[in-house]
């Protein structure tokens, strides 16, 4: 028996080097954008579950600018069935707390969603909050850092969660929220017919009113947290090479260097 899977994806800059302006905010205008790379694994996992559980449906949700339609279509080209862009000027500047409200309300509107998938984090904000926040909002079990889905049926999902010292195996009753890591699969490439289908697809756009959210509780002003400042990570300076002919000599020189720099 099939299940309805929702995959939440974000349109983010494809580049890894993003400029930060004087006010300490990321400058993304004009950069090429695409599906957040971490989300590609979530889409792939949803498609694999769909192939396994016959009759399943995959719906893509992307909250953000209207241009998010591009990434929804890219996901449809990969094989997702439907998609929706959740966009409203009132959402601008929402933090992760508020974004989780927007996504939760969207999932609720979809109605019969049994599994909500996220990538581990985004490559721009990098908070990695969303799996847990949406789980809490919906009152459903949630697990981040899932590296493998070992079993799934219409009622439950069994997953391996990546830990520092190995992996936990956990079974969750559905509906549940799962965040996946890059280890989970190798995302497929789109097909040409998928791309053509995606181009023709009409992607609905839902605003605050459509998902039943009061404009007063979303956006920058309603967000309890804010990004104060961002700074580029300073470039790493060249290290010091320890030289020596023999292992003994190398060890001796290393100890001397450590003493000299007062590490020991």
């Amino acid at each position: 028996m099939g299940i309805h899977i929702a995959v939440c994806i974000k349109r983010t800059p494809s580049s890894t080097s993003v400029a930060i302006d004087e006010s300490g905010q990321i400058q993304t205008a004009g950069l090429p954008h695409g599906i957040n790379p971490f989300d590609e694994y979530a889409i792939e996992e949803a498609l694999r579950i769909k192939e396994k559980l016959e009759g399943s449906k995959v719906t893509i949700i992307s909250a953000g600018a209207p241009e998010s339609e591009d990434v929804v279509k890219a996901a449809l080209a990969l094989g997702a069935d439907e998609g929706v862009v959740v966009t409203d000027p009132a959402f601008d500047g929402s933090d992760t707390m508020v974004t989780s409200l927007i996504l939760s309300k969207t999932v609720e509107k979809l109605g019969d969603v049994k599994l909500i998938l996220f990538g581990k984090q985004t490559n721009d904000g990098e908070s990695g909050h969303m799996t847990a926040l949406v789980g809490a909002r919906l009152g459903r079990p949630s697990i981040s850092a899932v590296r493998k889905v070992t079993d799934i049926d219409a009622d439950s999902i069994t997953v391996q969660r990546l830990m520092d010292d190995g992996a936990d195996t956990l079974k969750l009753n559905l509906p549940a929220v799962v965040g996946v890591t890059k280890e989970i699969n190798e995302p497929r490439l789109p097909s040409l017919k998928g791309k053509m289908r995606a181009k023709k697809a009409a992607i609905p756009k839902w605003g605050a009113g459509d998902i039943g959210v009061d404009a007063a509780v979303v956006g920058k002003d309603a967000s309890p947290t804010g990004v104060v400042k961002m700074e580029p990570v300073p470039a790493r300076t060249a290290g010091t090479a320890i030289t020596g002919e023999t292992p003994e000599e190398l060890a001796k020189n290393l100890v001397e260097k450590l003493k000299e720099t007062k590490f020991i």
Binding site: R188, L189, P190, S191, L192, K193, G194, K195, M196, K199
Partner: protein, 415 residues
């Protein structure tokens, strides 16, 4: 250069490019060395719908034509011409069926070739019959409701990996060239087996086999077009398929140049990158210019051809007639001269460019650890198969003379 390609054509380039760079590049040296067929990549190409880019939607294709085939072939060949060849060999089986197959044959064979579920091959060569296809010895004899095939064909690209074969036999040896006929044969037909597998200089992962026919019976419905018109089928096919080889050659040249530019920028001698030397820059400039000129000719010819092929295909499907007949009804020209021109020009470019690329990379360029020597080995076949470049020049020359003669006739009539 902006060649005014459609969004779908750009999608084909991008997707073929992703497969080429992410999937093919890491394994090309392995398959070149082992001479194994890259089924894992074939699967990727199938899933991406690449096998049907040039076939009508009615048969499960993407609705494109020659230009789509070319763009895919070029981009895949930038990574590996041997792996990219699998799509071309299939097209060399599908094109004669599309052009000369009746509606039943089109419906029966094209969908599986378009999806890549089945691969296809084309074989006309025999041990004693190469450029002189009229001298073939393999025979097909009509006995009741089936033909009995006997003889040996060789140098069949994609042999054994393909399921569907378009093969040429003499149905009437006394008639010479007018006794040759084309047939569609499926692997597994009793009496059809594979002989020697060739060891090749380049395109090594694509298997080249001898096909052996010993009292092989096929239904007479498998005759493609008419008895005695096999060479017509072959020429009509080559007129449209040679740009595919040209595209493969172009991809080889571009792939070799890309690797070479990258290397010459990194390689330092006398304290500076070797790309800073004028001698190197002039060679790079010549390579790039020849490549762009080849591409401009190839794309122009393919676009012009498609203006004939696409309406004719639609007409043929709608009216239940042969595409070849529809082309004639629509007054389409013969593309023999132009298809020979693109094949000659692009393949000569590929040989020249890859030779120069090996030269520019120096010692490392000659080594198997580095990819440019493979491009040079792969380039050579593009000057040979689907008609040697000497045969192409014969055809260009012949068409020039024919055109001049008919122009002279027109003038005489007008006067």
């Amino acid at each position: 250069m902006d060649y005014e390609l459609t969004e779908t054509q750009l999608d084909i380039i991008n997707l073929a490019g992703e497969i080429a760079d992410k999937k093919i590049k890491p394994v090309r040296a392995k398959y070149d060395a082992s001479e194994e067929f890259p089924w894992e990549i074939i699967e990727e190409m199938r899933k991406a719908d690449l096998f049907g880019v040039y076939l009508p939607e009615e048969y499960g294709g993407l609705g494109g034509a020659n230009l789509e085939l070319i763009l895919m072939s070029e981009r895949l060949s930038q990574a590996c011409a041997g792996i990219g060849l699998s799509a071309l060999t299939s097209s060399l089986c599908a094109i004669p069926i599309l052009l000369f197959g009746n509606p039943d044959q089109r419906k029966r064979y094209l969908p599986d070739l378009a999806s890549g579920k089945k691969l296809g091959s084309f074989c006309i060569t025999e041990p004693a019959s190469g450029s002189d296809a009229t001298s073939m010895g393999a025979t097909a004899t009509l006995e009741g409701d089936h033909y009995v095939l006997n003889g040996v064909k060789n140098f069949c690209s994609g042999g054994k990996t393909s399921e569907t074969y378009v093969v040429f036999f003499s149905t009437n040896p006394s008639k010479g060239p007018r006794g040759i006929s084309a047939f569609i044969i499926e692997k597994g037909t009793p009496g059809f087996s594979f002989g020697k597998k060739e060891e090749k200089m380049g395109i090594r992962c694509n298997p080249t086999y001898e096909l052996v026919f010993e009292n092989c019976q096929i239904p007479k419905e498998n005759l493609l077009y008419k008895e005695g018109r096999g060479l017509h089928v072959a020429q009509g096919t080559f007129d449209l398929s040679r740009p595919g080889v040209a595209a493969q050659a172009l991809g080889i040249a571009q792939g070799a140049l890309n690797e070479t530019i990258e290397y010459t920028r990194q390689r330092k001698q006398f304290g500076v990158p070797v790309s800073s030397f004028q001698a190197m820059q002039h060679m790079l400039a010549d390579c790039a210019t020849q490549i762009e000129a080849s591409r401009a000719l190839l794309y122009s010819v393919a676009k012009a051809m498609d203006k004939d092929v696409i309406p004719a295909t639609q007409k043929a499907i709608k009216e239940g007639i042969l595409v070849y007949d529809a082309m004639k009804k629509l007054g389409a020209k013969r593309w023999t001269k132009e298809s020979a021109m693109v094949k000659v020009f692009c393949s000569d470019t590929a040989m020249k460019v890859t030779t120069d690329c090996v030269q520019m990379c120096g010692g490392i360029g000659y080594m198997r650890d580095f990819p440019v020597e493979k491009f040079m080995r792969d380039a050579k076949i593009t000057q040979i198969y689907e008609g040697t470049n000497q045969v192409q020049r014969n055809e260009i020359g012949m068409m020039l003379i024919k055109e001049a003669a008919s122009a002279a006739r027109r003038e005489a009539v007008a006067a």
